[in-house]
């Protein structure tokens, strides 16, 4: 069935280093993918998205890579900062209209001073 999961539940990186957070999905019909950041006590916050017709998309300090062959998604954060410490979720949907997003369980990113 549809599932979205993450390879690592926790990730610790040194401040200034690059971070890579991975996500695997099982639904080959998934068309749209989003990365969210969730800080303690807050709702998820949109970071970046990518459609299935793209392999890579860049934002400010963040890059999302999509490998449809192996159904793998990654989020790269450049020059990780203390403010990046949070739980990161990938979410996907196969639908054309915005219901029923499936979220992964999340990866906790800890930035070490």
């Amino acid at each position: 069935g549809e599932s979205v999961g993450l390879h690592l539940p926790t990730l610790s990186v040194q401040e200034g280093d690059n971070s890579i957070i991975n996500c695997a999905y099982s639904n080959s019909a998934s068309d749209y993918f989003i990365w969210y950041k969730q800080e303690s006590g807050k709702g998820p916050q949109f970071i970046i998205d990518i459609r299935s017709n793209m392999d890579k998309r860049q934002g400010q300090r963040v890059t999302v890579l999509l490998n449809k062959t192996v159904k793998h998604l990654s989020l790269q954060i450049a020059a990780t900062q203390p403010g990046d410490s949070a739980v990161y979720f990938c979410a996907e949907t196969p639908d054309n209209y915005g219901q029923n997003f499936v979220f992964g369980p999340g990866t906790r990113l800890s930035v070490l001073p």
């Binding site: 998820p44 916050q45 459609r51 979720f89 979410a91 949907t93 915005g98 029923n100 979220f103």
Partner: protein, 115 residues
């Protein structure tokens, strides 16, 4: 401008009681979503409104859960005969039109604890 707001921020209730959770979406957003997030897990889709109507309620776990959005703005999630397993953070999100490329803006959630 104001984001999505949810009230109450915390709700403690006893097993078997009825609870209502409220969501105020961003003004003008036609799409509204409810999710449930258990500790250490990602949000789990419950229901999606397009305007006043529930376009997809396939995520509601059983008939104890019900949601309304009578005027296409504020939404209320209602849980009858609460069970301890209902304890979670209930998140609401809204988006401008509900297209899957619309950004969903999340509220801070309501933490429900069923004793």
């Amino acid at each position: 401008g104001a984001g999505v707001s949810q009230t109450p921020s915390n709700k403690v209730t006893e097993k078997g009681k009825y609870v209502e959770l409220r969501c105020d979406p961003i003004s003008g957003h036609t799409a509204l979503y409810w999710y449930r997030q258990s500790l250490g897990q990602g949000p789990e889709f419950l229901i999606y409104f397009q305007g006043t109507g529930a376009a997809d309620d396939s995520g509601l776990p059983n008939d104890r859960f019900f949601a309304v959005r009578p005027e296409g703005s504020v939404s209320t999630l209602k849980i009858q005969r609460t069970e301890r397993g209902d304890s979670a953070v209930y998140l609401c999100a809204s988006s401008p039109q509900g297209a899957n490329t619309d950004t969903q803006y999340f509220g801070p959630g309501t933490r429900l604890t069923v004793l």
